[in-house]
Amino acid sequence: MPEFLLLALAAGLGVALIAGPLGCFAVWRRMAYFGDTMAHSALLGVTFGLILEVNLNAAVAVGCLLLALALVALQRSRQLATDTLLGILSHSTLALGLVAISVISPGRINLMGYLFGDILATTGADVITIWLVAAFVMAALIWLWKPLLAITVHEDLARVEGVHVSAVRTALMLLMALVIAIAMKVVGVLLITALLIIPAAAARRLSHTPEQMAVTASAIGASSVIGGLAASFIWDWPAGPAIVLAAAAGFVLSLALSTLRR
């Protein structure tokens, strides 16, 4: 197996692993579009990074962080659903970024290139970063699992039982933002957003408890990575979309399975 494929596999499996449980939270908490929104706010971050001439990675990080905090703040009033809030933030940050670019007109710079990676271009350093982040986030998830689940089941019950709801919610957003920001640069935004929600959605019908769903989602994600890369190798499909298609196939399969079982 060529080395680049091994690196892609390593990076993809790392992302799929951590995207399993995180994606479940995205599905449960109706944050399916968190990834897309992050990508747009990252674009805004790059733009301001260019204007202020600061380190672009730092600018992206700050942009993503601010987005997560803005979302937490907006969620306080429960009048609007999370997907609406994400839509507002996503489109507003994108528009702001586009206006800012046109004003400062950095011209020939392809902003997207700064943001989005390709899983087949993974380097050894990328793999190490991904696995370090995945290990950290996984540890944090395990540590916070109970309160995270508690606020997802019922916020009021959790609060009464002594969970620091907004702290835990903010932590979840930040963990998710961290994973998306890193994965976006390595495997691309389409792949990370898809790996978050499609395996989790596929796992829903096959699970009876949250933990089962998280593990199943990771497994489906990992299989999709392997299957997608294989398809890319056999039929020469672009790797990212091939993995997403494999995950989509997994979802269709889970639909069929659960229909059969009825």
Partner: protein, 254 residues
Amino acid sequence: MIPDTAELLVQAQHLSVERGGRTLLDSADLAVHAGEIVTLIGPNGAGKTTLVRTILQLMQHNRGKLYRKPGLRIGYMPQKLHIDPSLPLTVERFLTLGGATKAQAHKALERTGAEHLLKQPLQSLSGGETQRVLLARALLQQPELLVLDEPVQGVDVAGQAALYALINELRHELGCGVLLISHDLHLVMANTDTVVCLNGHVCCQGHPSQVTADPAYLELFGHRAEAQIALYTHHHDHAHDQCGEIDPEHSHHA
């Protein structure tokens, strides 16, 4: 009513809550001590749920003072529960969420008469079953204070009495304070130490025997309540002295 030595768990003083330009709660006072059962009664929209949620700090109050014993462990049973169907959750997993073991969860379900629901998805439960599971969950907190918002709502005839009995049992077993909201005057009066009669403000408050004699109480609940209490009295002392007192005026709709 309760020994002076009992620890104060929560206390509301002159608590007022306003929302959307309306005063939902007007200078309400309330205290719950360890080992005490306090029952909130009052008509619909009286602000019972509001008061309880304010005490639990799920809502902000606009005026007044709130004391909570530091580090108070609370078991709460909300009036309604909506759980997203995208979350796969069996009753067992729901109960063990708070840290209880499976054995404890099973035992708690047995006590609330719902042990056969252990493996069922939480979202598929019937109304009364949900109440039983919620009560089981509240027990599992090993609470110092049990807050129950209409706990037997939708529970069947046999279950209502059994659950109230269970609550009374728990108070002795755990030594916890209980703050209860209920419309079943006949069932709760028997076990309650303090009744708080709410209608935006606190109308009257005290031992059931005091409260039922209070003019404010009679005005709010009138003779219908008396009729219900009659039943409880039957159970309790098997004296028939109140049976004849029922106001014939109210039988027209029966």
